[in-house]
């Protein structure tokens, strides 16, 4: 946990939620909402009852002290986990499938290719499983009727048929790859539909600088609140504001660029 000041965390979370909504109208976020809210509530409630650190005692529970500090800590932790999850939801939307493999394929070409192939195989395997399922169900291998053992057995039998079938076909896949020069000597190149332009480099530089400021500030203790042993003041110092604004621009960068596009088209 880097920044732990609740104001910092709440701002980051809100901005990230807006970023997320700008991707797909918050469709994926809504799916995660129940998990997210249950998890956060649990953490906020459980932490003070498990941990009795801190000095400001609210009340005693079964002889254990329940403190404001532990509550606060639970809240920051919940916010932190929520932030991570929201980032990952955005990550899943933006870097769906292969986009991040473009980056990967420069360093680990073979592994990246294997991952891409596996991604391509998954829908194919699912379709084959459907076909196998139809045929086997009519043979009396049901997944819905019978004891747990027979169901487990017939399920794995389907996977086994899939394995035998797909292994046979794999030879053709590799022939098709070799026919198009895979495994030949000489340098490979890669066709990327994504480029770094001048302004991309410029913005990368800006973002990196903001990042450095944030890191440096964090290291000096800005953007952080003392929780244990006693809850520190909420107050922002001068440099806190600097770090806060850097963080603000950093997190809302996607919103700014997307927003500018939107405005232009209005």
């Amino acid at each position: 946990m880097y920044f732990n000041h609740p104001i910092f965390l709440v701002t980051i979370l809100l901005l990230l939620i807006f970023v997320n909504i700008s991707h797909d109208g918050g469709k994926d976020l809504r799916k995660w909402l129940p998990t997210l809210s249950i998890m956060s509530t649990l953490i906020i409630l459980i932490n003070p009852f498990l941990v009795s650190r801190g000095t400001t005692i609210l009340f005693y529970f079964r002889g254990k002290q329940v403190t404001v500090e532990a509550f606060m800590y639970g809240i920051t932790m919940a916010l932190f986990i929520a932030i991570i999850l929201v980032i990952f939801i955005s990550f899943n939307i933006i870097l769906n499938g292969n986009r991040f493999l473009y980056i990967f394929s420069k360093f680990l070409p073979r592994i990246a290719l294997m991952i891409m192939m596996a991604i391509r195989f998954v829908p194919l395997m699912k379709r084959r499983l459907d076909e196998i399922g139809d045929v086997q169900r009519l043979r009396g291998m049901s997944m819905t009727v019978g004891s747990l053992k027979t169901r487990v057995r017939s399920g794995m039998l389907r996977i086994q048929i899939l394995l035998t079938w797909s292994l046979e076909e794999a030879v053709h896949v590799s022939n098709s790859m070799k026919a198009r020069g895979y495994g030949s000597e000489g340098k490979k190149s890669s066709y990327t539909p994504y480029y770094m332009e001048k302004r991309d480099w410029f913005w990368l530089f800006v973002l990196a600088s903001l990042m450095v400021v944030c890191f440096y500030g964090g290291k000096l203790g800005y953007g952080q609140m003392i929780i244990y042993p006693e809850l520190g003041p909420w107050q922002f110092f001068q440099f806190d504001w600097v770090v806060f604004f850097c963080m603000l621009i950093l997190t809302s960068f996607p919103l700014i660029t997307e927003g500018r596009e939107k405005l232009r088209w209005k």
Partner: protein, 239 residues
């Protein structure tokens, strides 16, 4: 080859530099990132080793295919949520094709299934856990042979738990500052039934299917002369 060696050395160095930087910048605070760095580094070493090796095109296809099968193995069991067939696929691959293939298929199966189910901070842990599961299956064959169903079942049963324990680690590490033994025990107790179901389904699959799966994979291996590990063959010839 020389260039490949160099990149291996560079990768190892990067891992260590990363660890040192994290140690310095985060002042012991961020155990989650630190742990991710470590398992990421270890996995990277395996990946780079695979990049350097000379591998047949066909072997790449087979490994990708097996990873995909591991990832979709859950589909027929959608109605039986406590059954975890992916582990069985990975263990069998490790047994037949050796430790390295086992690791790759395990790690890739995790990554690929999460592309369809959703990535999260747990992805690297899952990759690591399934990867080491496949790897240890390969090592198991090398040291203990593979004929004995009892050995395999014990192995599968234990791994049912180890997998769950490894996956619990990401929750533990992300709460390191707050670490108490009660917290740790609480997490491990709460995952017990889930882990037990995993362990039992491993036993069921291994006792019902490991013979036929090994036969299918071996038939294919023999037919096309694939993924032969010379060290492995020696042990087989000796026994």
């Amino acid at each position: 080859m020389a260039r490949a060696r160099a990149s291996l050395i560079i990768a190892t160095a990067t891992v260590f530099i990363m660890l040192i930087v994290m140690y310095a910048v985060f002042n012991y605070h961020n155990y989650l990132l630190l742990s991710l760095g470590i398992i990421g580094g270890i996995m990277m070493l395996f990946f780079i080793r695979f990049e350097i090796k000379t591998v047949k095109t066909r072997e790449i296809v087979i490994l990708a295919l097996l990873a995909a099968i591991g990832a979709v193995a859950r589909v027929p069991f959608a109605g039986l949520p406590s059954v975890q067939p992916t582990s069985f696929v990975i263990i069998t691959v490790g047994l037949v094709f050796g430790a390295e293939s086992g690791f790759l298929v395990g790690a890739l199966a995790a990554l690929v299934s999460n592309i369809f189910l959703g990535q999260g901070p747990w992805t690297p842990w899952q990759m690591f856990a399934w990867g080491t599961m496949g790897m240890s299956a390969g090592l198991l064959r090398q040291f203990a042979g593979m004929g004995n169903l009892w050995v395999l079942n014990t192995f599968g049963f234990i791994w049912g738990f180890i997998f769950g324990w490894m996956m619990n680690l990401w929750i533990v590490f992300s709460n390191m500052q707050n670490f108490t033994w009660e917290f740790l025990v609480g997490i491990y107790v709460s995952s017990f039934y889930h882990d037990l179901a995993h362990a039992i389904s491993n036993i069921v699959f291994i006792s019902l299917f490991s013979m036929s799966w090994t036969r299918i994979l071996n038939r294919f291996k023999k037919k096309h002369g694939l993924l032969e590990d010379p060290a492995l063959n020696q042990t087989i010839n000796r026994t």
